[in-house]
């Protein structure tokens, strides 16, 4: 985040392009993240969403929570639809059929719609270099359909399709590193963000939108319903994810890694995990294993940071 950023709460635009009256769960971290992103994006934007929490809570016929142009089609094709819109606007402006103007195209999808079913479309759009921003709202499971595991579900988390039981510790694979996969496409801007650090998130979204070419932002969205935590801890848990090194905030600008927040010492992962019911069943050994792996991943990230 810029040292001299003046994003003080009262200076943030009062306009809510993601209108209240949406049907998100009480304390929804994703709704907060979308709201903040919309503040950073302004009015000259076209939003494309995937099927998922954000689409369902904001678009029950005949209502819409969106005060900007918005389109939803299917689950796995957000990046492809965004590609089509980008191409359509580009050619219409070039042919003089509409006035030339800066319109940001922002694709928004969940972790399922990004790292699982939507991975192909995302990879294709990134490779083709379309000028758009892709925001992944990661609540670490298929929350909208009732908390099923995705490839973004963290190791040891209990979900309905990877439940904890006598024979299982829950999710048995490590969370897929989407920012790394996206960075491998050599796009100009990749970032991770959290609504618990709202000004950092807003400045990253603004930066991503302003980038020429594809940009990707991965936002950790705390989900009290799915993570089984009290509704008022959304922001606190999001902060702990960053402070424990589980979800570090960084940017990759043209291949260069920049850490957004560094901590002299990371908090132990138990601080984060003990607040959430989805990790309640884990034994001390497993948590030790997780701590070890988090340390390793964080060290790998630190090596890349300039």
């Amino acid at each position: 985040m810029e040292k001299y950023a003046v994003f003080v709460p009262r200076l943030v635009t009062k306009r809510e392009n993601f209108a209240p009256g949406h049907r998100a769960c009480i304390g929804c971290g994703e709704a907060l993240a979308v709201r903040l992103a919309c503040k950073a994006l302004g009015q000259n934007v076209i939003v494309v969403t995937a099927t998922g929490c954000i689409e369902i809570i904001s678009s029950q016929l005949p209502y819409t929570s969106w005060r900007v142009p918005w389109i939803h089609t299917l689950f796995e094709n957000t990046a492809a639809v965004a590609s089509g819109i980008e191409a359509g606007l580009k050619v219409l402006m070039r042919k003089g059929r509409m006035p030339t103007q800066d319109i940001n195209i922002v694709a928004m999808a969940g972790d399922g719609g990004t790292s699982d079913i939507g991975l192909q479309a995302l990879s294709g759009a990134l490779e083709r270099g379309h000028n758009f921003l892709y925001i992944c709202y990661d609540n670490e499971a298929y929350m909208n359909t009732g908390i099923q595991r995705s490839s973004s579900t963290p190791f040891g988390a209990s979900t309905t399709t990877s439940p904890a039981g006598k024979m299982s510790i829950g999710q048995v694979t490590w969370k897929k590193n989407m920012p790394a996969i996206v960075a491998a496409h050599n796009i100009p801007y990749v970032a991770t963000a959290s609504p618990s650090y709202p000004f950092d998130l807003m400045s990253k979204v603004a930066k991503g939108a302003a980038t020429q070419g594809p940009a990707y932002i991965h936002i950790l969205s705390v989900c009290p319903t799915g993570w089984r935590c009290p509704t008022d801890l959304t922001v606190r848990i999001g902060r702990l994810a960053v402070e424990t090194g589980i979800f570090p905030l960084y940017e990759i600008e043209n291949g260069e890694y920049k850490l957004s927040f560094n901590f002299p010492q990371l908090r132990p992962v138990t601080d984060y995990m003990k607040l959430q019911g989805r990790f309640r069943h884990l034994s001390e050994e497993t948590i030790e294993e997780i701590q070890h792996r988090v340390n390793k991943e964080y060290a790998k990230l630190m090596e890349k940071v300039t």
């Binding site: 094709n77 191409a87 359509g88």
Partner: protein
């Protein structure tokens, strides 16, 4: 044989002056040429045999500056149609082409295109479906998308393909329609044929085809929300609206074909009759089989048989009125399908025709044949056999729902 130009042996009122320039090229390339003449804005392209020549030639036109369009080389057909949705929603004139498996891959997106009323134009080069893998032509892919809500037109030769792709843009983007349109042509038998065709000149196309003016595009100054979800209390109403719209589009299609005829001297109809006056036996075909069937009909007429050919051109919205009118004086109607509905009625087109005629007081006996699957040829002799066998079945009856023509037992 170039249908329509100076050919007076049919009763379709074609012929009478030549508009455009005469070319002798592969039909796929001609289709790409006409998409270029129509000044398409966005082409989303993914290769699949046998449509690839269309998207290849479009890439050439764009690369040489002959077509100013954004060419999106997508990574799958699902993304191809999705990109078309986006481009169309942004107000761009959008085109793509696919075949067989590609059409299946974009299946769910097709429903979205029609229910969201996005005027995408697509050429489907009909190809058989796996498994076993077959790149050759039949109508199974077309039949699998019957209910997707698209306007669907079948063509039988290169000239028809060129003309109907041009009409497709005009029909799709008409403010009274705003529905996606598929133009079906047979894989290899039509797509890869080098035929003499008349390509319209650019100024003639500009006169015929108005600019795309989608009424509610995605624009920051007038925000719209496209693709809300509908709970049970309202979903039925959205489907009724869609159904009313596609039925009403028939009127616009007929008008468009009529005006096309006035401009280019070739008239198209939902059902076309060939040598049907006083025919007690009618054969019905769709697609390029119609050409060979016409030769068989000619031969049988010379032998004094009272046979005629019906060519079904407008598949969706289904031309109930025209079908009922066309068959009302026939005793036997033999329908040749190029697709097979397993465990069901066999021939999908035949089952629709039977259903359309069910309540008519006077109707012919309808006999079902399925043939030409996976690119299998049917010769003139084959059609003669089908007609004769069809007449036989109408007299003796059959235990089977349909007969599979040409299979080695």
């Amino acid at each position: 044989m170039c249908q329509g130009v100076l050919d007076k042996s049919n009763n379709n009122d074609r012929g009478g002056g030549i508009i455009g320039r005469r070319v002798g090229i592969e039909v796929s390339l001609a289709i790409a040429e006409v998409v270029g003449l129509a000044d398409a804005d966005v082409v989303a392209a993914y290769p699949i045999t046998p449509q690839t020549h269309i998207v290849e030639h479009l890439a050439e036109l764009v690369a040489n500056g002959e077509l100013d369009a954004q060419y999106i080389p997508v990574e799958s057909e699902h993304s191809a149609m999705s990109a078309c949705l986006g481009a169309s929603a942004a107000g761009a004139r959008t085109f793509t082409a696919t075949a067989g498996q590609g059409l299946e891959l974009m299946h769910e997106v097709l429903y979205v295109a029609s229910s969201m009323r996005l005027p995408v134009v697509m050429t489907v080069v009909n190809r058989a479906l796996s498994s076993p893998l077959s790149v050759w032509g039949d109508h199974s892919d077309a039949m699998s998308v019957r209910d997707t809500g698209w306007i669907q037109i079948f063509v039988e030769n290169g000239q028809e393909a060129v003309d109907n792709v041009l009409c497709a843009f005009r029909i799709a983007e008409d403010p009274r329609v705003l529905l996606p349109v598929m133009v079906h042509l047979d894989g290899f038998h039509l797509s890869h044929m080098i035929e003499p065709m008349l390509l319209p000149e650019r100024d003639e196309v500009e006169k015929f085809l108005p600019k795309n003016d989608y009424p509610l595009p995605l624009r920051p100054d007038k925000p719209v929300a496209m693709g809300d979800f509908a709970p049970p209390i309202i979903y039925t109403e959205t489907k009724k609206a869609q159904e009313i719209n596609i039925r009403a589009s028939k009127e616009v299609i007929l008008q468009c074909w009529n005006e096309f005829g006035n401009s280019f001297h070739r008239y198209y109809h939902p059902v076309e009759c060939y040598q049907c006056e006083d025919a007690d036996v009618l054969l019905l075909t769709m697609g390029s089989f119609s050409e060979t069937a016409m030769m068989a009909i000619d031969k049988m007429r010379q032998e004094g048989r009272g046979v005629g050919l019906l060519k079904l051109r407008l598949w969706r919205p289904f031309p109930f009125k025209e079908i009922r009118q066309a068959v009302k004086n026939a005793e036997v109607l033999i329908v040749l399908d190029r697709a097979l509905s397993f465990g069901g009625p066999g021939g999908p087109v035949c089952s629709e025709i039977r259903s359309a005629l069910h309540n008519e007081e006077k109707k012919p006996k309808v006999i079902s044949f399925v043939g030409g699957l996976g690119g299998r040829e049917i010769t003139v002799a084959g059609f003669e056999y089908i007609v004769n066998r069809g007449i036989e079945i109408s007299q003796t009856g059959s235990e089977q729902e349909f007969e599979l023509f040409g299979v080695r037992e």
